[in-house]
C-alpha cells in the first residue's frame, strides 16, 4: 500500500485539513464561501481516490454528491443568502485570527495523537484518513465556536459534515443509502437554517448570534 497510492491519498486528505485551517483564516463572508467550495471539491477528489484505491464504485457516487451538492449548490445558495441579507462586510471573530489558528493547529496535533495509537491494528490508509477526518471535524467545531455571524456558523457546520464523510469513506463500508440520506438531510438542514436566518434577521435586524443572548436575558 506504500507508494504513490498512499502518497496521493495523504496529499488529498492533508489538503482537506489545510483548507479547514484556511477557513479559519478567512475574515470575509464571500471568501469564506469560496474556500468552503474548494473544501468540498477536495473532499470529492479524496473520496474518488479512495473509491479508486479500494475499487469500491459506490464511493464514486459519494464523491459526485459531494462535488455537486457541497461544491456547487450549497455555496451558490449561501452566496444568495449573504447577498439578500446584505452582510458582505467583515466577520467579527470572537478571538483574533492568530489565536484561532494556534488553537486549530493544537486540535490537529491532538487528533493525530489520539487517532494513531488507538487504530494500531487498522489498515494504513484508514488510519491516516481517520486522523485527518477527526481533525477536520474538530476544526469545523472550532469554526462554529469562533464565529459570531450565523452564516459563518453554517459554513462551520457544513465543513464538519465533510470531515464525517471523509471518515466514512476511509472506513470502508458506509452504505450508499445512508450516504444519500445524509446528503439530503444536510440539504434540508440548509433550507431550515436559511429560513431561520431570515427569521432572526426579521426579528433582530442582525444575524449576530450574540444579540440572541441579550434577548434571552443573559449579559451580552
Amino acid at each position: 500500500m506504500h507508494g504513490l497510492a498512499f502518497d496521493i491519498a495523504h496529499l488529498l486528505s492533508g489538503g482537506l485539513v489545510l483548507i479547514s485551517l484556511m477557513l479559519l483564516y478567512q475574515v470575509r463572508l464571500y471568501s469564506l464561501i469560496n474556500v468552503f467550495a474548494a473544501h468540498a471539491v477536495v473532499l470529492g477528489l479524496a473520496v474518488a481516490w479512495q473509491a479508486f484505491v479500494q475499487s469500491a464504485p459506490h464511493l464514486y457516487v459519494t464523491a459526485l454528491i459531494a462535488l455537486l451538492f457541497k461544491g456547487v449548490v450549497i455555496p451558490v445558495v449561501l452566496y444568495r443568502m449573504v447577498q439578500r441579507l446584505g452582510i458582505h462586510r467583515q466577520i467579527e471573530t470572537v478571538v483574533g485570527v492568530g489565536l484561532t489558528m494556534l488553537c486549530g493547529i493544537g486540535l490537529v496535533a491532538l487528533s493525530i495523537m489520539v487517532m494513531l495509537p488507538i487504530t494500531e491494528a487498522a489498515d494504513v490508509l484508514t488510519r491516516e484518513d481517520l486522523a485527518f477526518a477527526l481533525s477536520v471535524v474538530l476544526l469545523g467545531l472550532l469554526l462554529m465556536v469562533s464565529r459570531r455571524n450565523a452564516v459563518g456558523q453554517v459554513v462551520g457546520f457544513m465543513s464538519l459534515e465533510n470531515g464525517l464523510i471523509l471518515a466514512a469513506a476511509g472506513a470502508k463500508g458506509m452504505p450508499l443509502v445512508v450516504e444519500i440520506s445524509v446528503a439530503f438531510s444536510v440539504l434540508i438542514a440548509l433550507i431550515v437554517i436559511g429560513i431561520f436566518l431570515f427569521r432572526i434577521r426579521e426579528r433582530f435586524d442582525t444575524v449576530d448570534v450574540h444579540v440572541l443572548d441579550g434577548f434571552r436575558g443573559e449579559q451580552p
Binding site: 495523504h10 485570527v97 493547529i105 490537529v108 493525530i112 485527518f132
Partner: protein, 311 residues
C-alpha cells in the same frame, strides 16, 4: 577554488538580480524602466560619496553596515548555488544560515535605534515585530525539511531532493509556500513592505537605514541585494536542485550548473516581479497574520510528516 568562485559569483550577481526584478516590474507596468545594470551604478556612486554621520552616532553605527554585509555574504556563500559538495559544505547548515541572518538583522535594528531619531526606532520596532514571527516560521520550515531529508546540511538536502524516492509529499508543498512567504517578508517586498517608497506610514526597512549615507549605505544596499539572491538560491537549491554539479565533476559540469543557476534566478525574478505587480501592500498590523500563516504551514507540514512517518 570552486567555493571561492561561488562566493564571488553571488556577490557579482546580486545587484543584477535586483535590477532585473525592477526592470521586469517596470515593463509590466508599461514603463521603460532603468537598465538592469542600474544597481551597480548606484553602488559605485554611493561608494564615491562622502559619509555624513549624525553627531549622536556611536561606533556601533559605523561598524554595523560592515557586520551586516559580512554576515549576509557568508550566509549567501554557504548555499550551494551551481554545485554541491563544496569545501564549506559541511558548514552549510540551514540553522546556521538562519542564525547568520538573525545576527545581521539584530545589528541593523541596533544601528537603526543608535542615532535616536524617531524614524529609526519606528523602523527597528517594526522590523523586529516582523522578525519575531518570520524567524520561527523559517525554522519550522527548516525542521520539516531536515526531518524529511535526515540532515540539516543543504548539500545533503539537495542530493536527497534529486533522488527519485521523495515521492509526492504535501509537507513539501506547505514548506515551499511557508518559505516563499518568509522570503517575501524578509526581503521587504511588496505585500509586507514597499522597497521603492519613502512613505512614513508604510516603510519598514527604509526607515531603519534612513540615517545612512555614502559607503555605509552602499554596504547596506549590497547586503539587501545579497539577501534577495540568498533566498532565491535557497529555494532553488531545495526545491529545484536540477542541473547542479556534484563534487569532482569536470569543468563542463560546473559550466552547465552555472548556466542553469542563472536561469533559475531569472525565473525567480520574473515570478517575483509578476507577484509584486499583481498585489497591493497590506496594512502593517495585518503582517503578523500573514506571517502567522507561514508559521502555521510549517507546523502543519511537520505534523503531516509525523503522520506519514508513524504509519
Amino acid at each position: 577554488m570552486v567555493q571561492g568562485l561561488q562566493m564571488l559569483l553571488v556577490l557579482a550577481i546580486a545587484p543584477l538580480l535586483t535590477g532585473f526584478v525592477r526592470w521586469v516590474k517596470a515593463r509590466m507596468l508599461r514603463r521603460r524602466g532603468a537598465s538592469p545594470l542600474q544597481p551597480y551604478r548606484d553602488l559605485l556612486r554611493l561608494v564615491r560619496k562622502e559619509v555624513v554621520l549624525a553627531e549622536s552616532a556611536s561606533w556601533l553605527f559605523r561598524v554595523a553596515p560592515y557586520l551586516v554585509f559580512t554576515a549576509i555574504w557568508v550566509a549567501a556563500a554557504l548555499i550551494p548555488t551551481f554545485a554541491t559538495g563544496l569545501l564549506f559544505s559541511w558548514s552549510a547548515d540551514m540553522i546556521a544560515i538562519v542564525a547568520l541572518l538573525g545576527t545581521a538583522r539584530f545589528f541593523l535594528a541596533l544601528a537603526g535605534m543608535d542615532v535616536g531619531t524617531s524614524f529609526g526606532g519606528l523602523g527597528s520596532s517594526r522590523e523586529m515585530m516582523i522578525a519575531s514571527v518570520a524567524e520561527p516560521a523559517m525554522l519550522m520550515a527548516v525542521f520539516t525539511l531536515s526531518l524529511l531529508a535526515g540532515s540539516t546540511q543543504l548539500s545533503a538536502v539537495a542530493n536527497f531532493m534529486l533522488d527519485q524516492s521523495v515521492g509526492l509529499r504535501i509537507s513539501l508543498g506547505l514548506v515551499l509556500v511557508a518559505l516563499l512567504i518568509v522570503s517575501i517578508a524578509e526581503n521587504a517586498r511588496i505585500p509586507v513592505d514597499n522597497p521603492s517608497t519613502h512613505l512614513e506610514l508604510t516603510m519598514v526597512h527604509e526607515a531603519m537605514v534612513l540615517e545612512y549615507s555614502g559607503r555605509h549605505l552602499a554596504m547596506i544596499e549590497a547586503a539587501a541585494f545579497l539577501k534577495l539572491v540568498l533566498y532565491a538560491s535557497l529555494i532553488a537549491c531545495v526545491f529545484a536542485p536540477w542541473g547542479m554539479a556534484a563534487a569532482g565533476d569536470g569543468f563542463f559540469a560546473y559550466l552547465v550548473g552555472t548556466g542553469v543557476y542563472l536561469l533559475k534566478l531569472a525565473v525567480a525574478g520574473v515570478l517575483l516581479a509578476a507577484f509584486e505587480t499583481s498585489i497591493a501592500k497590506m496594512r502593517v498590523f495585518r503582517v503578523p497574520e500573514f506571517l502567522g500563516a507561514a508559521l502555521m504551514l510549517g507546523l502543519l507540514g511537520t505534523l503531516l510528516l509525523f503522520v506519514t512517518r508513524s504509519v
